[in-house]
Symmetry: C4
Amino acid sequence: MPISAELRHEVAVANRILGHEGVIDAFGHVSLRHPERPDRYLLSRSRAPALVEPGDILEFTLDSEPIEPPTVQLYAERVIHGEIYKARPDVIAVCHHHSAAIMPFAISGEAMVPVFHLGAAMGPVVPFWDSRDDFGDTNLLVVKPEEGASLARALGKHSMVLMRRHGATVVGASLRELVFRAIYSCDNARYLSEAKRLGNFGPLTSGEIAMAQEIYTRPNTHTRAWEYWAVRLEKRGEMPAPEVKSVPKAKPAASAKKTAPKATAARKVVKKKVAAKPRAAKGRKRR
Amino acid sequence: MPISAELRHEVAVANRILGHEGVIDAFGHVSLRHPERPDRYLLSRSRAPALVEPGDILEFTLDSEPIEPPTVQLYAERVIHGEIYKARPDVIAVCHHHSAAIMPFAISGEAMVPVFHLGAAMGPVVPFWDSRDDFGDTNLLVVKPEEGASLARALGKHSMVLMRRHGATVVGASLRELVFRAIYSCDNARYLSEAKRLGNFGPLTSGEIAMAQEIYTRPNTHTRAWEYWAVRLEKRGEMPAPEVKSVPKAKPAASAKKTAPKATAARKVVKKKVAAKPRAAKGRKRR
Amino acid sequence: MPISAELRHEVAVANRILGHEGVIDAFGHVSLRHPERPDRYLLSRSRAPALVEPGDILEFTLDSEPIEPPTVQLYAERVIHGEIYKARPDVIAVCHHHSAAIMPFAISGEAMVPVFHLGAAMGPVVPFWDSRDDFGDTNLLVVKPEEGASLARALGKHSMVLMRRHGATVVGASLRELVFRAIYSCDNARYLSEAKRLGNFGPLTSGEIAMAQEIYTRPNTHTRAWEYWAVRLEKRGEMPAPEVKSVPKAKPAASAKKTAPKATAARKVVKKKVAAKPRAAKGRKRR
Amino acid sequence: MPISAELRHEVAVANRILGHEGVIDAFGHVSLRHPERPDRYLLSRSRAPALVEPGDILEFTLDSEPIEPPTVQLYAERVIHGEIYKARPDVIAVCHHHSAAIMPFAISGEAMVPVFHLGAAMGPVVPFWDSRDDFGDTNLLVVKPEEGASLARALGKHSMVLMRRHGATVVGASLRELVFRAIYSCDNARYLSEAKRLGNFGPLTSGEIAMAQEIYTRPNTHTRAWEYWAVRLEKRGEMPAPEVKSVPKAKPAASAKKTAPKATAARKVVKKKVAAKPRAAKGRKRR
């Protein structure tokens, strides 16, 4: 079941927005449930989200097995995605990250509560998951199916779960809701942290949270914010190139490893982008 | 009553400066009272201020109704602007924002007081408005006329009002004074917050505030700072393109929604800018 | 006594480095004592330091009077420079700023002491000056000769003085020493502030300060750091254009004011830069 | 024994990544043990790491003497590198830095402990070295062999040592492990500092650290992160130019000093880069 080029592009853009807005760095990942086969999800091969190209997006079963035999390296923690999609049929997109904004909460165990209207996008409660509870000492990564399932149980019906000494996982009813929630929950974390040090604070009431959350799950709200983040990407030259057909998928990973000392991998990205511009311009004239 | 292209451009630049200097992100908005019809004001269609084009600027009555039937989405919170213009004939420009600098004050309820000369631009007192006082639980947005009027009462004769768990609204006797006040009140918030944690502090006296405020309401002070912010915008390629006539206003919004997955909206901005450069150069030669 | 184009350029670069490295924003200023006439100093016309062009540099007496009748607006606070040059024959360069790093100290009155080797560049003691002590309530600006003289007395034999609720003034035995000291005293302020909140700290001993300060007043240390800051400027396209002869000095200011709404002033800068590139390339071929 | 152009490039890229990711500013340095002669190491001539070109890399004995008579200025603190390579045969790469993230720890003496999985890359213990213990008052620089040896003893078998009132030194079993450890130990410092102020925190257990550290010393982990940092460099135009043969090494330093007022040194860098692009493109076609 081939995924459309548009959808691959959308997933790549979501990855890059979260990289560009400071939610994800070299690590972390973003997935989307397959729009036609809810028993599958789409996720990049293993690489920094800010670099993901449409051609990097692969298809997985909910047991987090690749549909096609992999020729590239895969994310070790993809069970985070698969186990959440299994447990939560309403979830369409998942992001796992270690953003600087939420790490102090993940480390200290202080509660993240909504303290401004946009913070309500993350919901009234952000539960904690501690890998020690079920598994004792581990390397902290979530790589076994039972670890993913344990995290999914901790997430429960909520929209975000903090992972002690590790990071956070956020879910959404759409890719854009996910991006919106991931970014504004980070803002909420920063403001809450600052406000606590400045003085007393009172969080939103449950009534306020419910009403504000209703606003921030509306697609038109997501569209306004998405346009902003997409243009910021575009202006820095960080928008992924349109997918080029017949590129053998195995090669980029292999050559990246071999030639990285000469930064050829990096240059290739720039080269593609330069090459893509005239083509894009022509395309627009034709329309 | 058509608004001049120059004025539309000035309003777009003010929007973008506040976006670029970190006062506004995807949300927030900036308006100007109509220079010839004080019973009207100018405000962008609903989009992130950093992206506002001169062609996005629309005209509203003080009841916040659009003069022409809208073909695009409008900001939900425009009563903030209309109700303040009604209550304060001296106010020429209004900005509503949720900048990271002021959020800890809006959340904690700690008082914002001027602690350095440029901070005096915000005036001696920054009152608080809490939506709960008059309206109980809401989604925290200011969308009903009576909500805007309540906020305008809290603002009173001051230059800035903090909105509990939401953000701030700033007013000015000119667009440039507004931009100046919005930016330096954010600096004041940051310095005050840091100084409080570092040790004791003593705010400016009321005499110092009055004398410093007199300096920071002078147009030549605003001109110097505006040049700085405008050049910063220009250098990052963020200055709005000159307004192109006969562009059907309804289309950008519609196409942005439809094509956003392919980021065509974003590319269009870049395309315009590239195209605008030779034209601008020619224009300058002719002058 | 005409100032060489090279020297004007060096002063403009110092202004821009301090703008680019976050010491100065729209306000603040940087001056150099005239290399051949110690009874004069060089300072830009009134504009944001990050925008200063070689052609903006004007000559002043130590009473802060312009040598030629001014056709452009001058900084209001230039007595800071004149009065320090009068009181301190060893001082060759002066910078007045309100950087975010030092403001919490200027506001709280907490002592700035060297806490790392490079912090020793600012010397063992950073005295405080409070405009209230000699002048009571003012607008906090230093505009009268007696205010400048009072500040110079507070500076005494030191390298930097904090100005309560206003900012700081830094001096140097050369322009590059000044830039070095201004930047690393800001770093010292940030680290001290963070260290105080993290735990106990012990400052450098007076012996350590004296020995480290000896290192950080050596020209070769300044050269290494200056190259770094200058390349950073260059890479962002922020290096001032080479001075073009026969540009009427009065015009830039006037046109900036008149055309700022259209951002023509900003575009002019960009235009110059674009135009300058081919010329510079040619020049390099000829060499 | 000539070093390959590829290796020089790799060392230059490591320098620039650490500059670009905020670990190093104008000061600090990064070295690599010679791959074929373990009694030698490679280190740049004295200049800001973010500017290092492949042609700047020189060869030193473990007594930190240059193999060839130097025609350029050398880092004063290179004994940090030589003495650690002597004491630790397992160490292949060394970085000395004063990043803003770790300075509050170096100043306050608070312990840096791993508080998230990636923080385990720095190992369970980060010892402190205080120059006062062995040497009393100094200028705080590590310039004598016995100072370097004292620091190496404090480092012991660990991967990172904090230097009181000065900075830190990090070591790695490869250049990429070094870069990875330097960057993520800074992140750990920031998160620990924030978490301590926010509430209680519990560090990783020794079992968790050991297991996580095993992950973060795997080359494929370093490859993923290196690709991310290298592309970021490339996109900002900060990747070093390929080494050009027959450039007299002495000249850059001399001309930098002489012409810095005109920023010719800076322009030269840009010129090289512009010139290098077509060549690089050609080179890729041929391969």
